[in-house]
C-alpha cells in the first residue's frame, strides 16, 4: 500500500524543484533589492547540484542497474539520466543568458509583468533597476517538468510533467521587457494551442487507459499483446498522445505556435525553451513509442511519415522566406524536429543515442544562437539602445563589429546546417544512420535535401554577417559577462561535439537502455 520511495533516485528533480519552491519563498520574504542576487545564486546552485546528482546517479545506475521509482511512476535508467543531463546542461547555459542584464542593466524581462507597459509604475521600477525575479523560480519549475518528462513511467506522470514544464513557459513567454504586446500575444497563442494539444494528449491517455486498464507504460505495453479487439482505442490513443508530444516539439501540423512564440517570447526564454522543451519532449516520445508502440510501427508509419515529411518541408520552405532571425530560427527548429523524428521513429537502439546526441548538439547551439540575438540591438534616432534588432538585416557586418560574436554565431549556424566538425553534423549523421538502419531511407533522402535547403537560410545570415557592411541603425551591446560565457561555452561545446564526439557518442550509446 505505501509505496517505497527511493529519494536518492529522485534527487536531481527534487533539488531543482526544491530550489524553485525556495525561490518563491525568497520572492515572498526577501527585500526587493536583494532578490535578484539570491535568485541567481539559487538557480545556478540548483542546476549545478542537480547536474552533479545526475552524474552520481549515472554511476550508480551503471553499477547497480536501472530501477523504477515511486512504484513505477518514474523510471531511473541510463536514458532518463542522460536526458536529464542534457536538459540540465541546456538549462544551465540558458540560465547564463537569462540572468544577464547586459550593459544597459536591463534584463530581457519586464520590470513587472503585471504593470501595464508604459505605465508610471513600470517606469518607476525600470528606473530603480528592479527586475521581475519570479523568472528564476519559473525557469526552475520548467526544468523540473523537463526532467520528469522523459523519466515518466506512466501516463499520469507524463501528463503532469507536461503541464509542469509548459505552464511556466507560457508565463515566461509573456514577460518580455520590450514589445510586450507581441510577447503577451505570443504567450496567449502558445497557451491556447498548448492547452488544446494537452487536451488531445489527455484524451489519448484516457483511451490508452480505457484500452488497457492501466496507465503504466509496461502494463499498457503488455496489454497490446494480450487484449483482443478495441484496437481502435489503442491506435487512436497512441496517435492522440503523440499529437500532444509532437506539438511540444513543434512538428507540422502542430507547429503553428513555434514562430510566433519564438519571436514574441523574451529571447533568453526562447533559447531555453527551444532547447529544453525539445529534449524533454523527444525524451518522452522515445520512451512512449519504444515501450508502448513496438509492433505497431506499421500502423503508425503513415501518420509518422506524413508528419516527418511535412515537418521537414514546412520548416525549410517557410524558413527560407523569413526576415526575422527569431522566426528563422523557429522554422529551423521545426526542420530540426523533423530530422530528430527520423531518428526517433527508426525504432532502432542507435536511434535513441542519435536522438540524444542530436538534442544535445542542437540544444547547446540554440542557446548560444539566441544568446547572440540578445546582444544585437536597435538604436533610435537619438542613439539610445532599445530592443533587440531581430530583422536579418540587422546582422549585416556583425563580423566587423564583434568578430568574436560573429564567429560564435557562425559556429552555431554551421552546426544547424550540419557542416562537419560541428556537433550538428555528427547529430545529423547519427540520426540519418539510425533512419537508414530502420529502413527509412526515403525520409533520409528528403531530410538531406531539406537540410541543404536550410543551409540556404543559414548561409544567407553568414553572408550578412561576414560579407556585408554594417549600418548604423543597429548596435551590438556588451553583456554583463554571463551571456558571453554562455555563448563561448556553447561554441566550444559545439565544436568539441563535432571534433571529438567519441566520448559523448559512447555515453549516449550507453544511454540507449530503456526500462519499460
Amino acid at each position: 500500500m505505501t509505496p517505497v520511495i527511493d529519494w536518492a533516485a529522485l534527487a536531481p528533480a527534487i533539488i531543482v524543484m526544491g530550489a524553485a519552491v525556495l525561490g518563491v519563498i525568497v520572492e515572498a520574504f526577501a527585500p526587493r533589492g536583494t532578490r535578484r542576487p539570491i535568485q541567481v545564486t539559487i538557480t545556478f546552485a540548483a542546476l549545478a547540484a542537480a547536474l552533479v546528482a545526475v552524474v552520481w546517479r549515472w554511476t550508480e545506475v551503471q553499477a547497480n542497474g536501472s530501477q523504477t521509482v515511486v512504484g513505477g511512476q518514474l523510471i531511473e535508467d541510463p536514458f532518463t539520466l542522460m536526458a536529464q543531463g542534457i536538459v540540465l546542461v541546456s538549462g544551465l547555459l540558458a540560465a547564463f543568458v537569462i540572468a544577464d542584464r547586459t550593459q544597459t542593466r536591463e534584463g530581457a524581462f519586464a520590470a513587472s509583468a503585471a504593470a501595464r507597459p508604459g505605465s508610471p509604475e513600470e517606469r518607476e521600477l525600470t528606473r530603480a533597476g528592479i527586475d521581475q525575479t519570479e523568472v528564476y523560480p519559473l525557469v526552475l519549475f520548467a526544468v523540473t517538468g523537463m526532467m520528469v518528462f522523459p523519466a515518466a513511467g506512466d501516463l499520469l506522470t507524463l501528463f503532469i510533467a507536461l503541464e509542469v514544464l509548459s505552464l511556466p513557459l507560457y508565463v515566461l513567454s509573456a514577460m518580455a521587457r520590450r514589445k510586450r504586446l507581441i510577447s503577451q500575444e505570443a504567450a496567449l497563442k502558445y497557451f491556447l494551442l498548448g492547452a488544446f494539444s494537452s487536451a488531445f494528449f489527455l484524451m489519448g491517455i484516457s483511451l490508452l487507459y480505457g484500452f488497457s486498464g492501466s496507465v503504466r507504460y509496461s502494463e499498457v505495453a503488455a496489454a497490446t499483446t494480450v487484449t483482443v479487439g478495441m484496437d481502435w482505442m489503442l491506435i487512436a490513443g497512441i496517435a492522440l498522445v503523440l499529437i500532444g508530444l509532437l506539438f511540444k516539439v513543434g512538428a507540422v501540423p502542430f507547429h503553428s505556435w513555434t514562430p510566433d512564440v519564438y519571436q514574441g517570447a523574451p529571447t533568453p526564454i526562447t533559447g531555453f525553451m527551444a532547447a529544453g522543451t525539445k529534449v524533454a519532449a523527444f525524451g518522452a516520445m522515445i520512451r512512449f513509442l519504444y515501450v508502448i508502440a513496438p509492433g505497431m510501427e506499421a500502423d503508425l508509419e503513415v501518420l509518422l511519415w506524413t508528419v516527418i515529411i511535412a515537418t521537414m518541408i514546412v520548416g525549410t520552405v517557410l524558413g527560407i522566406v523569413q526576415k526575422d532571425i527569431k522566426r528563422m530560427l523557429a522554422y529551423s527548429s521545426i526542420a530540426h524536429a523533423g530530422f530528430v523524428l527520423i531518428a526517433v521513429t527508426s525504432f532502432q537502439e542507435t536511434g535513441i543515442g542519435a536522438t540524444l546526441f542530436y538534442l544535445l548538439a542542437y540544444g547547446v547551439a540554440t542557446v548560444g544562437a539566441f544568446g547572440v540575438v540578445t546582444l544585437v540591438r536597435e538604436k533610435d534616432a537619438a542613439g539610445n539602445i532599445t530592443g533587440e534588432a531581430t530583422s536579418l538585416e540587422s546582422y549585416a557586418g556583425l563580423a566587423k563589429r564583434k568578430p568574436g560574436l560573429a564567429v560564435a554565431m557562425l559556429v552555431f549556424l554551421l552546426s544547424f546546417a550540419g557542416i562537419p566538425l560541428t556537433g550538428g553534423f555528427v547529430g545529423k549523421f547519427t540520426a540519418f544512420a539510425a533512419g537508414i538502419e530502420g529502413g527509412a531511407w526515403p525520409l533520409v533522402l528528403i531530410a538531406v535535401i531539406a537540410s541543404a535547403a536550410t543551409a540556404y537560410f543559414y548561409f544567407r545570415l553568414v553572408v550578412l554577417m561576414f560579407f556585408t557592411e554594417p549600418d548604423d541603425r543597429t548596435t551590438v551591446i556588451a553583456s554583463e559577462g554571463m551571456t558571453l560565457v554562455a555563448i563561448a561555452l556553447a561554441a566550444v561545446a559545439t565544436i568539441a561535439l563535432g571534433v571529438v564526439p567519441g566520448p559523448v557518442l559512447e555515453l549516449v550509446g550507453n544511454a540507449a537502455v530503456l526500462l519499460p
Binding site: 500500500m1 505505501t2 509505496p3 519552491v21 518563491v24 519563498i25 520572492e27 515572498a28 520574504f29
Partner: protein, 119 residues
C-alpha cells in the same frame, strides 16, 4: 437502489416548482406597458450606455478568482484523503502535508506581495 435517483428527482421537482412559479406569475400579474419601466435602474440618473458590457472590474476580482481556483483544487484533494485518512496511513498524511505546504508557499507569496490587499 441507486442513491442518486432521488437526487435527480429532487432537482427535477425543484426546477419544476421554480419554472412554474415564473410561468404562473406571468398569468397572475397585470400587464401595463410603460417605456421607462423597462429601462435600467440608474437611481434616476440617465442610463449609462452599455453599462453591463463594459466589463471594467478591478483586477483584484480576477486575482481572487485565480487564487480561489487553486485553493478549491486543494480542497478537492483534501476531501478524499480526509475520508480515507486511516486507510491511507502515514504515507498519505505526509503526502498531503507536502501538498498543503506546496500550496501554502504561493499563498504566502501572494499574501506578502500584496495580492490579498483590497485597497
Amino acid at each position: 437502489m441507486n442513491p442518486y435517483t432521488p437526487l435527480l428527482l429532487m432537482i427535477a421537482i425543484a426546477a419544476v416548482v421554480a419554472v412554474l412559479g415564473l410561468v404562473g406569475t406571468g398569468f397572475l400579474g397585470p400587464k401595463r406597458y410603460n417605456r421607462v419601466k423597462l429601462e435600467n435602474y440608474e437611481c434616476g440618473v440617465e442610463a449609462t450606455p452599455n453599462a453591463g458590457s463594459a466589463g471594467r472590474f478591478p483586477i483584484k476580482y480576477y486575482l481572487t478568482a485565480m487564487t480561489f481556483i487553486i485553493f478549491d483544487i486543494e480542497v478537492v484533494f483534501l476531501y478524499p484523503w480526509a475520508v480515507s485518512f486511516e486507510r491511507l496511513g502515514a504515507f498519505g498524511l505526509i503526502a498531503v502535508l507536502t501538498f498543503v505546504f506546496l500550496i501554502t508557499v504561493p499563498f504566502v507569496y501572494e499574501w506578502r506581495r500584496g495580492g490579498l490587499e483590497w485597497d
